[in-house]
């Protein structure tokens, strides 16, 4: 324990010091309780500041300032009352208060029990995903061998909650939207999992901490061995990104609450705190998925270079997580929305075949691991070809009939 630098051990030391203050039987309980509270606190704040970061980043994309009006409360603990509005950083707390105080309307025709349970289930299951993510070298909530299996099992329940919300609202629009949401989530569950399977095949384990350790080496101290820098890893990462966007109902795939057609989709009949819960669950799901993406493809808490090891590992994890979420926000600010049939066609006809091909590619990668010297280049070339050529061919087949046009002018 002592070989690890102090900052790395600090959170663990703090917890252990606190746990052994308590009598015996309670120790096991408080040990895990502190982990749960820590995750909730960190990722609750992370959710709060993601919402304001999203609005400010979108604002900047659109040549305007984001929110900067929410004031600092009068009785603030700051030594003197700040005239400055802290660039809008107090906005999420203002939103939270607004969400709490807004009236929670339940339509009379609604199925009360289901209507109430839907947000509870969706938040519960989307939080369960955090249990297996290795935030730091020593900071891993639960050391599961089948961590990935657990993660996808927990993530799959959110679809049930969305359909419960759509069905129980007894509203034409939300029913239509719930069916759309189901079609989308199910058809993107497959590419999501298939893009992760090559990693399991290469590392041979399902446990996330082992996967992060497998990415721990650097050639010449500079080039990290993250999986994203291998051909099959890069393809897997791209498919994972697209599927993660669809799983968390984000930008090009935010069909369920497509405002332009179905108002707020399955959330039409929710207001007040329940709506805020759905909103929070969506962000938790997004954070969990990007956390998984960072762990599997971007080397989790590994530092990018050997000499940067002194920075505590959980900061690397948080940095990469923020980077991925910024990318999601950037995509949301730019891209249009896909229609439901295009969306499902993209998944079944394009992503799933590519993911399967990527599986074969990873298998070849493992079998050709022992090739010496110049053969490595051949190995890389073959691996690249196996993924790029089908991508181009299938890309052209999916966009047949679409293309830029030239226009004539009247004589």
């Amino acid at each position: 324990m002592s070989a690890v630098p102090f900052l790395e051990r600090a959170p663990i030391e703090l917890r252990d010091w606190f746990v052994q203050l308590l009598p015996g039987p309670l120790q096991w309980l408080t040990h895990h309780l502190i982990t749960v509270v820590a995750i909730l606190a960190v990722f609750g704040l992370f959710f709060a500041f993601t919402t304001v970061a999203e609005r400010k980043l979108l604002g900047r994309l659109q040549n305007r300032l984001g929110p900067n009006r929410a004031g600092v409360p009068k009785f603030s603990i700051l030594p003197w009352h700040l005239r400055h509005k802290l660039w809008g950083l107090t906005q999420p707390f203002a939103d939270a208060v607004k969400a709490l105080t807004k009236e929670d309307i339940v339509p009379t025709a609604a199925d009360k029990v289901l209507h109430f349970l839907a947000p509870v289930i969706i938040v519960g299951f989307s939080l369960m995903g955090f249990a297996v993510l290795p935030f730091g070298r020593l900071l891993i909530p639960v050391e599961l061998d089948a961590a990935l299996l657990y993660f996808f099992a927990a993530g799959a329940a959110t679809e049930l909650a969305i359909f419960m919300a759509g069905w129980s609202s007894h509203n034409k629009y939300s029913l239509l939207a719930a069916m759309r949401a189901l079609a989308q989530l199910i058809s993107y569950e497959l590419p999501l999992i298939l893009s992760v399977v090559p990693i399991i095949l290469v590392t041979g384990t399902l446990s996330t901490s082992a996967i992060v350790h497998a990415q721990g080496f650097w050639t010449f101290g500079l080039l990290p061995h993250w999986f994203v820098f291998t051909p099959w890893g890069a393809a897997g990462f791209v498919i994972f990104l697209v599927a993660a966007l669809a799983e968390s109902n984000r930008s090009p795939f935010d069909l369920p609450e497509a405002e332009s057609e179905l108002i707020a989709g399955h959330l039409t009949e929710y207001s007040g705190f329940k709506y805020a819960l759905f909103f929070m669950a969506e962000y938790f799901g997004l954070t969990a998925l990007s956390g998984l993406g960072v762990t599997l493809f971007l080397g989790g808490w590994q530092a990018p270079c050997a000499f940067l090891e002194f920075i505590p590992s959980y900061l690397w994890f948080m940095g990469k997580l923020v980077g991925m979420i910024m990318f999601f926000i950037w995509v949301r600010g730019t891209l249009l929305r896909l229609r439901i049939d295009q969306l499902t066609r993209l998944s079944w006809k394009f992503l799933v075949p590519l993911a399967l091909l990527n599986l074969g590619n990873a298998a070849f990668w493992v079998l050709s691991a022992h090739w010496a010297g110049p053969l490595q280049l051949v190995r890389w070339a073959v691996s690249l070809a196996v993924i790029v050529i089908p991508f181009v061919v299938m890309g052209r087949s999916i966009t047949t009939g679409y293309g830029p046009r030239s226009y004539r002018y009247a004589p």
Binding site: A258, L335, R339, R408, Y409
Partner: protein
């Protein structure tokens, strides 16, 4: 909403009316399960105002679509019959509230045709400058709203609004109000732009193509945009002509009819500009029509600024008060940003018009909305409606 039965009609209607669209509109209820009737509007985020579409859905596909109007009906024509000719001019701003200058021009043109009023050269040039600036405003607005219907979170709309606001600031510093300009009079214009205004306008027009390039680079090649709009809402040229569609919607189907070239009103024959024509008549072509027309408008504006003559902006004999045109009638029309905007006036010699009729391009362009939407999904119907470009002030009058 009784669905019209087809049997009683003679062949012409069937030949032109109901036969078009991607799938023949045969409503076979028995084995398609129950149809879901969804009413979109009048409070709906994407129907550009108080406009309702009663769509009958078979799953996601539209089987029947009935537009419902009248929520914003103020009976503008009855009001016009009770006010003087000049008194109706500010009301024309409220017809198509996105393009007040072109509506003013159409009304002024009709009244000048009715009373045989002459217009000095400088005023004609100013009208062309204001008309083309309004075309830029309207087309950038439309393209922004179209992308909002396609699902982007406001980014293209705010880029379009950034450019539109610059032009509206020019209108405000000239006529006093951003959108309700009330700028044209019978026989000329009301305010003579100062050299500073002309310099600012010329600078804006010179770097407007930079905004268009940014837009095209960002969106025209976008694969999702191509997938969502190409082949959606296809419009057959023959049906478009028979249904009286005009403006970019018609030219997107390849029909060469631009009133600036056909009638040659104002000083348009002096300007050389081209009229873009589409080939497929789908939503993508309608979007590209607007982008290409904006580029042509920039060319017209540059020529207009170059040789803007000096001289009076108002015909000295024009009378502001006590304007009584001789009995008679006149139909004046212009190529508005949305299509052919016409004013049909009947005068009986009194200061109030006897009959004042506005030919609303937005309303008539909606005639084939049902044919275009059949067979498409509900998401497409919103995009098709967005590409037709309607403003409810003009639809309902």
């Amino acid at each position: 909403m009784s669905c019209s039965d087809q049997t009683g009609l003679d062949a012409e209607l069937l030949a032109f009316g109901r036969q078009s669209g991607p799938t023949v509109r045969a409503v076979h209820d028995q084995f398609h399960g129950d149809l879901l009737e969804v009413s979109m509007g009048p409070q709906h985020p994407s129907t550009h105002g108080v406009f309702r579409m009663v769509a009958t859905l078979d799953g996601e596909q539209i089987v029947k679509l009935k537009p419902v109007f009248g929520y914003l009906h103020r009976n503008h024509e009855k009001i016009a019959e009770n006010t003087t000719y000049l008194g109706s001019m500010p009301y024309t701003d409220r017809l198509d509230y996105l393009c007040s200058m072109t509506t003013n021009w159409a009304y002024a043109l009709a009244v000048e045709k009715l009373s045989g009023q002459a217009v000095p050269d400088r005023a004609q040039y100013l009208r062309i400058i204001m008309g083309e600036l309004t075309r830029l405003v309207n087309h950038s607005c439309l393209v922004g709203f179209l992308f909002n219907d396609l699902g982007t979170s406001f980014t293209p709309l705010l880029y379009a609004f950034r450019e539109r606001e610059k032009i509206l600031d020019l209108f405000e510093s000239l006529s006093g109000s951003r959108m309700m300009c009330n700028y044209q009079r019978f026989g000329g214009c009301r305010v003579d732009p100062s050299p500073a205004w002309l310099a600012a306008a010329r600078a804006l027009v010179d770097n407007f193509p930079r905004f268009l390039d940014e837009y095209e680079r960002m969106l025209t090649g976008n694969e999702i945009m191509l997938a969502r709009t190409q082949g959606v809402g296809r419009l057959d040229p023959a049906h478009a002509v028979n249904a009286g569609l005009t403006g970019p919607v018609l030219r997107a189907s390849g029909v060469d009819y631009d009133i600036r070239k056909v009638d040659g009103y104002g000083f348009y024959p002096r300007f050389d500009f081209r009229v873009p024509l589409g080939a497929h008549g789908d939503t993508y072509d309608r979007y590209m029509m607007r982008i290409l027309e904006m580029r042509e408008s920039v060319k017209i504006l540059q020529q207009a600024f170059k040789d803007l003559p000096a001289g009076p902006i108002m015909d000295p004999k024009a009378k502001i008060r006590g304007f009584r045109p001789k009995p008679g009638e006149a139909y004046g029309r212009i190529e508005g940003p949305k299509g052919e905007l016409g004013f049909y006036l009947i005068s009986d010699g009194s200061p109030n018009p006897y009959r004042y009729r506005v030919r609303p391009p937005s309303l008539i362009n909606l005639t084939l909305l049902e044919e275009m939407c059949l067979g498409h999904t509900i998401a497409d119907s919103v995009v098709i409606l967005g590409s037709i470009d309607i403003v409810l002030g003009e639809v309902d009058r």
